[in-house]
């Protein structure tokens, strides 16, 4: 037993987090920043955070992740990091020639209270930011919120580049939230199929799923361009996918540039995708083409064909709020039963939404927002499940309790595929079902006694 010290009895813990279901803000800011074309993320603090964030993103995406750091030592921690950041901006624009540097703070620079707007201003005045280049920034104190908050804050930082000319450009902004590069690509494909011209930001497709060609470029082809970001102020509207990842930026665009917004769930599963497609249709005033309805029908078909394997299967779920909400809805919609749900985000709202979604589940449902994986494990020990859905770290629970695991969310550092195969939209729904079904049936095959081992299902 790898987690041999986890007791069955759940004792309340007020101070000790064990096996967290979240991490800190800056890593989210770094991921979001990579979704801007030609952007070099920069971590304002000591070099350790930056190293950790780059390592984690590299392990998850299996791609180079470059980012600068202000390399604080004790001096900077006491006297402030202005000199370090100004010097860093100079060095980065000189050596790496990015279009944009996206600065985010860390615990350290937040605690000492470094003023990012003032410092970037100074750097610009001192001529350290070349003509036509940009610096965007986000405050990402890691003792507030989670990695998801950091993502959201950096997307808000991007909105600061938006400009409005007063003339609408006929496009719809889509903020996809913290999803995989493949998901971002799928959102673009689906939107194009529906016939809507979108500007998506951030967009890590093309950046974090690059080819191997013998060439290395710190700034690959993909990513939302500065020009596109500027034009977001002229869009006819914004669809924010996910309250926790995307809504703040969309609202900021609304206040600053009068771009109306609508907050939707992340389009995982049938119903959330339906709402996304429908919203696109209404905003752009188009008819949804037959091709999209056909894709939808395939997903419905698969659900009906395989319903017997999903029906009333108990699931334990851990992940980020936007993902967990959409996934819970999807699982419930195919008659699976999420019975233990944990997210690291502290939020009454998340909890309420999850309770609402699972109201009809015919079992007792445990929900923690915020909870950790130690708690999730204890719940599983008391009420076993048929399947666990969570990130890589859930594999310790899965092994100890001998329960199949579907890897989902961030980070997944021991498998591949998540970068390339989407789980959003109807096509993504098909893939999710395929994975879930595969795990469940592998298990049936493994456990069946010889006399009832069968070829067909």
């Amino acid at each position: 037993m790898l987690l041999r010290h986890t007791p069955n009895e759940v004792a309340e813990r007020k101070a000790l987090t064990i096996n967290p279901a979240k991490t800190c803000q800056p890593v989210g800011a770094m991921y979001a920043a990579l979704g801007v074309h030609g952007c070099l993320p920069h971590s304002h603090g000591s070099q350790g955070c930056c190293a950790y964030h780059r390592s984690m993103l590299t392990r998850h995406y299996k791609e180079p992740v470059s980012a600068g750091t202000s390399s604080f030592t004790e001096g900077a921690s006491v006297f402030g990091g202005q000199a370090n950041l100004v010097q860093a901006l100079d060095n980065m624009f000189t050596v790496y020639e990015p279009e944009v540097v996206a600065v985010h703070t860390t615990c350290l620079s937040e605690t000492i209270g470094d003023d990012l707007p003032q410092i970037t201003d100074k750097a610009t005045k001192d001529g350290k930011v070349p003509e036509g280049k940009h610096v965007i920034y986000a405050n990402t104190p890691s003792y507030v919120g989670t990695h998801v908050t950091g993502f959201s804050n950096m997307v808000k930082g991007m909105v600061k580049l938006a400009e409005s000319t007063g003339v609408k450009n006929g496009k719809v902004n889509v903020i996809p939230g913290w999803v995989e590069p493949a998901d971002m690509e799928e959102i673009k494909r689906l939107s194009a199929l529906v016939g809507v011209d979108i500007t998506m930001f951030p967009d890590t497709s093309g950046v974090l799923n690059g080819p191997l060609s013998g060439k290395y470029s710190m700034f690959p082809e993909g990513g939302t361009t500065v020009k596109e970001l500027k034009s977001t102020g002229d869009a006819i509207g914004t669809l924010a996918l996910g309250e926790w990842c995307s809504a703040d930026a969309a609202r900021l665009l609304d206040t600053q540039h009068k771009v109306p917004c609508k907050v939707l769930d992340m389009p995982f599963g049938l119903k959330a995708t339906d709402r996304f497609v429908d919203a696109l249709r209404i905003i752009a005033g188009v008819n949804v083409p037959e091709e999209v309805s056909r894709e939808r029908g395939q997903l419905v078909d698969m659900i009906s064909d395989m319903h017997q394997y999903f029906y009333h299967k108990k699931v334990a779920l851990a992940g980020d709020p936007d993902q967990v909400i959409a996934l819970t809805e999807f699982l419930v919609s195919i008659d699976m039963c999420p019975v233990h749900i944990v997210t690291g985000t502290q939020s009454k709202k998340v909890k309420a939404r999850l309770e609402e979604l699972t109201a009809d589940v015919p079992f007792k449902v445990n929900i923690a927002a915020k909870g950790d994986m130690f708690l999730l494990h204890q719940w599983i020990k008391n009420e076993p499940v048929d399947l666990i859905i969570g990130n890589t770290y859930a594999k310790y629970i899965a092994r100890d309790e001998d329960i199949p695991l579907v890897r989902f969310g961030f980070p997944i550092i021991d498998r591949v595929g998540h970068q390339y195969f989407p789980t959003v939209g109807y096509k993504g729904g098909l893939r999710l079902l395929e994975i879930i079904l595969g795990r469940l049936l592998d298990r049936t095959d493994r456990d069946a006694p010889e006399e009832s081992f069968e070829l067909v299902y």
């Binding site: 000591s46 350790g48 190293a51 392990r59 921690s77 615990c107």
Partner: protein, 546 residues
């Protein structure tokens, strides 16, 4: 294959250095120039290298932080200490199982907290009002849940800034519990210039709070400690296997596959064998001063080096039958290795490598490469000090700068009752006479070729330039560097946590490594870089059907 496309232009080392520095702003170039050295291979001619100095803001470094060195590297591999990170969730999260430390906790009643991540998960109110209360409560909760032998606390950046006194909290809780040792590490990330500061802080505290706590006699005739081996990918398991075959008792490994009791009993050994000089040489010194245990430098990376290190241990203890046993073990293990090398060498002979890793790894692994007939063109450390490059004789002249001054130095004295010299002065002198060197490490420089480039704190930009210019057949560094190097069409082997595979230490490890490098450098994938239409893009007016 990559070799076929080698650059034909012959670069002089000085030109390479110049090319690497060209794009930097002048101040940066000046600083980096002192950390890039063209090896003269003779210590008296070789210019001094600058090391253990700050990284440059904005220049993408390979380094991590003091906390990473302390919690991740040194304490990470210990299984029965509950390691609580005091800080916001991130630091604890990222150092959770990411270093591939293996441990064997299969014994009856063994404790193993390594798969757990404990954090006080500080929130803004803790930053504003101070986190000591929450820390004390977290320690209490950990104690109530697990009743471990020991609880260790690690301070992260904000903790140092707001001035939480983790040591006072530790002391208070230790007294309260009575049966659980509680101690803290002031290893805030900003404290030093690299992980090295963290190793130092970790080792000092382990020495102060744990070493010597258990005075029970330990069995075994030839008792050693293995210092600076972290059991990445099972390295320590393989070394332990070999030691056992030879009849050597390993009292404590610092800190691969280690336990609290190993540390507590370390003063019972009769010889200290230092693997990673950087991370732990001072512990060897302290054990000698306080308890009278001499130390030698060993290296279990590479088959020849392993044999040599075993022989050194044999010479130290001096018993004829023991020495014969060691020779018998070496003789039994070598044929398999020789057979693999003979095969692999036909494909690796003459190939080239570069390595930029941690402390001693960038040195040790060169032995494995040379066993395969491969040459190291350039190497350097991520967090070493000058003595790791130039040898221990430079230690007295090392300048103590502001960044090193805030790392606690502890001074130890001979223990009143337990100091016992393991060998007399005369015996030590005789051994020295016979070629066994105590307290000695000559550093990386003498082992590298003349004209090779030795680079301290190499960064992404320089790495990329080196690869473009010299096209090595393999590059070794860490996970952050992996994919940018591979995009250039050069295989990259992680030598921090090995990506996959291992062990690479000892005899079986050497075989694993030869095969791994053979696989990497000869993989077909490197020939797929260009599609047929990119190889010969000329258009033809008509397609000729066969």
């Amino acid at each position: 294959m990559a070799t076929a496309k080698k650059k034909l232009v012959k670069w002089e080392p000085t030109d390479i250095k110049e090319e690497m520095l060209k794009k930097y702003p002048p101040k940066v170039a000046r600083k980096r120039a002192k950390q890039i050295m063209i090896n003269e291979a003779l210590e008296n001619e070789t210019p001094e290298i600058t090391a253990n100095v700050r990284t440059i803001p904005g220049i993408i470094t390979m380094r991590g932080c003091t906390y990473a060195g302390c919690k991740g590297v040194i304490l990470g591999p210990t299984r029965d200490i509950v390691n609580i990170t005091h800080g916001p969730i991130g630091c604890g999260f990222y150092s959770w199982l990411t270093r591939r430390n293996q441990t064997d906790a299969s014994g009856e009643g063994d404790e193993n907290y390594m798969p757990y991540c404990f954090s006080t998960d500080m929130e803004d109110k803790d930053i504003i009002f101070g986190g000591e209360k929450k820390l004390a409560a977290a320690i209490q909760e950990a104690y109530d849940l697990f009743h471990p032998k020991a609880i260790a606390i690690f301070a992260t950046c904000p903790v140092g800034l707001i001035g939480d006194d983790i040591h006072a909290v530790a002391k208070q809780m230790k007294e309260k519990f009575g049966d659980c040792n509680v101690f803290g590490f002031s290893c805030e990330g900003y404290k030093g210039v690299s992980q090295s500061a963290g190793h130092h802080i970790a080792n000092n505290q382990i020495f102060k709070h744990v070493v010597g706590e258990n005075d029970e006699e330990k069995p075994g005739e030839y008792r050693i400690n293995l210092l600076g081996e972290y059991n990445i990918g099972g390295d320590g398991f393989e070394i332990d296997r070999i030691l056992k075959l030879c009849g050597i008792t390993n009292i404590a490994t610092f800190s691969g596959n280690s336990t609290y009791d190993q540390f507590a009993s370390a003063h019972k050994a009769d010889l200290n064998c230092v693997m990673c000089h950087r991370s732990i040489n001072y512990v060897a010194d302290m054990l000698e001063t306080k308890f009278g245990i001499p130390w030698i430098k060993v290296n279990f990376i590479g088959a020849e080096s392993t044999a040599k290190s075993l022989r050194k241990i044999g010479t130290y203890f001096g018993d004829k039958s023991f020495i014969e046993k060691i020779e018998a073990v070496i003789a039994a293990e070598m044929p398999e290795i020789e057979a693999v090398v003979a095969d692999v060498r036909t494909r690796t002979e003459g190939k080239t490598a570069m390595m930029f890793v941690g402390g001693s790894r960038a040195h040790h692994y060169q032995d494995l490469f040379s066993e395969m007939g491969m040459k190291t063109l350039s190497a350097g450390y991520e967090f070493a000090h000058r003595d790791d490059y130039e040898g221990r004789h430079v230690i007295p002249n090392l300048k103590v700068d502001a960044d090193s001054r805030n790392i606690e130095e502890i001074t130890v004295e001979a223990d009143d009752t337990r100091y016992a010299p393991r060998k007399t002065e005369a015996e030590l002198a005789a051994l020295e006479e016979g070629g066994l060197k105590f307290k000695e490490y000559e550093g990386l420089i003498p082992d590298m070729d003349k004209g090779s480039l030795i680079i301290d704190d190499c960064n992404q930009y320089e790495a990329e330039k080196l690869v473009e210019i010299l096209k090595p057949d393999i590059f070794c560094a860490g996970i952050k560097e992996k994919y940018s190097i591979q995009k250039l069409g050069v295989p990259m082997k992680q030598l921090h946590s090995y990506d996959s595979g291992g062990p690479y230490a000892g005899f079986k490890g050497a075989i694993n490594f030869y095969k791994e490098i053979d696989r990497l450098t000869n993989s077909k994938v490197w020939s797929y870089m260009k599609a047929p239409w990119q190889e010969s893009p000329e258009l033809s007016a008509t397609y000729v059907w066969e």
